[in-house]
């Protein structure tokens, strides 16, 4: 059985950055396992620009961003295998892999970094009634079909969900000559980035219908249209507001779910809110030596944030290898999402493993203008930060200084909440 210090599952942006960071932190014996035939993951189908503003201080396309990292991995002689599916990881960190070249084989790892990314929610998950004709696609699938295979699935399109993928695909399809009739959003605000609403919809005169839902798929064989309805405050369709819109294609961009099947089978505990592993400040899960980063941990808006988070996972995994174990016996400070905050990553801080400042990433539950984010160490207000605009579609981050945490060792809970105007 081949042995590696660190096995990284997933060769997308998270896996690549984590591997690179581990290497930079002194670990040589690393293997990246990627299921697709190319490194870079979903970035390869994201041919639009806007990637890398934070990490590389310039605007790159997805494939360009992926290539930079793939090159770094090559330059550093980090080993990787493609077209390889991880079947399981056991508690002894034996990774079972299958590929065409070697069949089914096992690898012994000292540490594992989970970086499997996420998948899209399907029509079933959102219960759109009607027949099941062809023409109903997840936005990511269409992105792959168009950008990597060169096919266009339809000519008249309705997009459900105003997340970034939905917005970007609206523009992409418009550029290919398809008529994008509407982007439909159940909420009163978009879950995508503001800049994407401007650049992908406004610039192309594509209407964005807030507080609407696709209440029915029409057509038996190929889609003939959708019925749209207005929704009430509980996001339920309001009877009598139905409107038929003809289209041959419905793109669903209705949320992403971290792909944690391997993690769950391994016994990694999950956060119900993020559908990702519960991790400490070192991004280690409850299974010792198993770390998680990127969209498998929680769904990010920007690849730059994925990279930064994965750098930490790589570094902490390297520290773990060097120390050969991890001491989690120290005091644990719990991070608690309070009013206006839907989740926090990490979930807690272990004082015995704390070695750096801690970046806490979170999402808010609503749209706020001119609000404050308050961070309380037990009853003490530690941070009171003004945020001109907060929306659930834009991930937030706040750094907790290591020194401050150490000065407040007696703290049991660190609470994050939004103070609305």
């Amino acid at each position: 059985m081949k042995e590696y210090d660190i096995v990284v599952i997933g060769g997308g942006p998270a896996g690549l950055a984590a591997a690179y960071s581990a290497k930079e932190n002194g670990i040589d014996n690393i293997l990246i396992i990627e299921r697709d035939n190319i490194l870079g993951g979903i970035l390869n189908q994201c041919i639009h620009n806007g990637f890398g503003l934070h990490v590389f201080k310039e605007e790159l396309t997805g494939p360009e961003y992926a290539e930079r990292y793939a090159n770094l991995v090559e330059e550093k002689n980090i080993e990787y295998i493609l077209n390889s599916m991880v079947l399981s990881v056991d508690e002894n960190k034996v990774v079972t892999v299958m590929n065409e070249e070697d069949g089914i084989f096992e690898i012994q790892a000292k540490a594992v970094i989970l970086a499997m990314g996420c998948r899209e929610r399907s029509r079933g998950a959102i219960n759109i009634p009607g027949y099941r004709p062809s023409g109903v696609f997840s936005a990511g699938m269409v992105q792959r079909l168009m950008n990597m295979e060169g096919y266009i699935p339809g000519k008249e399109v309705v997009i459900f969900g105003s997340g970034d993928i939905g917005l970007i695909m609206a523009r992409r399809m418009a550029l290919e000559g398809a008529k994008v009739k509407a982007v439909v959003e159940r909420k009163p605000y978009s879950s995508g980035l503001q800049r994407n609403i401007v650049q992908c919809l406004d610039d192309y005169d594509i209407p964005l219908l807030y507080q609407h839902t696709v209440s029915k798929v029409v057509g038996k064989d190929r889609m003939e249209g959708v019925v749209l309805s207005k929704v009430d405050d509980k996001k339920q369709a309001i009877p009598g507001t139905e409107e038929f819109v003809s289209c041959d294609t419905l793109l669903l961009s209705v949320g992403l779910i971290p792909e944690n099947e391997i993690s769950r089978d391994l016994g990694v505990k999950m956060n119900r809110k993020t559908s990702g592993p519960i991790v400490g400040e070192n991004l280690m899960t409850n299974v010792e030596g198993v770390f998680a980063c990127g969209n498998v941990l929680h769904v990010h808006d920007l690849v730059d944030h994925v990279t930064m988070e994965s750098n930490i996972a790589g570094k902490k995994a390297a520290e773990y290898i060097k120390m050969n174990k991890v001491d989690t016996s120290g005091k644990k400070i719990q991070l608690i999402p309070d009013k206006g905050v839907s989740y926090l990553v990490p979930d807690h801080i272990n004082l015995s493993t704390l070695s750096d400042d801690v970046t806490v990433r979170f999402r808010v539950t609503d749209v706020y203008e001119g609000a404050y984010v308050d961070v309380n160490f037990d009853d003490e207000l530690a941070i009171h930060r003004k945020k001109p605009f907060l929306a659930p579609g834009e991930m937030q981050e706040i750094k907790l200084k290591k020194d401050y945490i150490l000065e407040h060792q007696n703290t049991d809970n660190i609470t994050f909440k939004v103070e609305a105007k």
Partner: protein
Amino acid sequence: MYDVLIIGGGFSGSAIARELSKYNAKIAVLEKTEDICEGTSKANTALAHGGFDAKPGTLKAKLNVQGNKMMDKLTKDLNIPFERNGALVLCFDEKDIPKLEELKERGEKNGVPGLSIINQEELRKLEPNITDDAVAALLCESAGIICTFTLNFALAENAYENGVEFFFNTAVEGFTKKEDRWIVHTNNGDYEAKAVVNAAGVYADELHNMVSSKKHSITPRRGQYFLMDKQVGDTVKRTVFQLPTKFGKGIVVTPTVDGNLLIGPTAEDIEDKEGVDTTKEGLDEIMEKSKMTLKSFPYGSVITSFSGLRAHDEEDDFVVEEVEDAEYFFDALGIESPGLTSSPAIGLMMANLIRDKLNLQEKDNFKETREGLPLTNRMTPEEHKALIEKDSSFSKIICRCEMITEGEIVAAIHSPLGGKTLDGLKRRVRAGAGRCQGGFCSPKVIEIISRELNIPQEEVMKNNSNSKIILGRTKE
């Protein structure tokens, strides 16, 4: 001229075809859609019912119990999954316990083995995730779960391997009786046979009424379902029914043989025989009713919802017989639930009727077993490894949710009566049947179909010929 033409490639038609293929006879199945298992048979609760529900003395009761008993050998011979997981009928009110007793007695009259009534405590032990409202239950040990698709394919494929011909996209338009033969008019020309079997599901009444003065009327009874992620597949171990109450017929919560959780169906009489759409009302009803069974409804785990139709005849029983005023014309009509369970028995009963009528002689080379497709997730690791040694494409994952390899998909395309569409392959090997519902693998499966059938990707269909997936090329 054929000896027997069977109309319909669902369970009944396929089971009849397989039983008849034991005899020296020229047999064909006419199927109006592009594939086996496209109509009534493709969407149901996928159960081998115990047989306690049907009224004693009915054909339904008899064929259900008989069909259930035949399942062990049949599924072994055809190499398809089947599990006697047992069933429970929950009772929510002490006052209703006599109704459970009645059900038990009825079952015993029908010849169902392994029936008992269990109390709340035993129930808790068996199924910890059902609500505390359930006070007692009828346990039926002989009930089981089965894959509706593979049963249908296996029956048809085995019939095909034993010489039965299949004609797809062939819709029957009428019949003419000549002295010694029936002429079956279809959109693909005329077929002639000594005997005709009408196994046309929801359309069986229409075909019957073309030849007989004693009319039948079939109502499509729609059942809507939720299919859940395998993550919650073990919410219940048994198939859990609800005792009907004053609020109506209950719904079923059951694991599937593939490890998912299935919840449904509704029961709505509709007009449209193609009306397999789902409705908001229907889906809401399932969620509402499931609350009686389950402590919590796994909302986040729904991966798809769908509808199926049951062919409910107004006489409320199966009809498996030669039509009185149309000699050599046989009906397998009104085959609603428990049609899947009964299908092996329906096949046998019909084949016996036809054997006697046509004086058919048994073949000596009937191949009773079917090897089936090489499905890697039903193999032991050793078997899978051995297969990979021979063909490395069985280690190339295409559908990551269900872990389906390229080798399996290619094998399913080239199998007897192979799959040629996305849905056809989904039903044969489960590519695209998982939690992402084809989001990742569809482009790859389209590519494989295109390559193996040597057709452009734009010509690959979801199911029928009007269900194109890709409408063109992006500009160069």
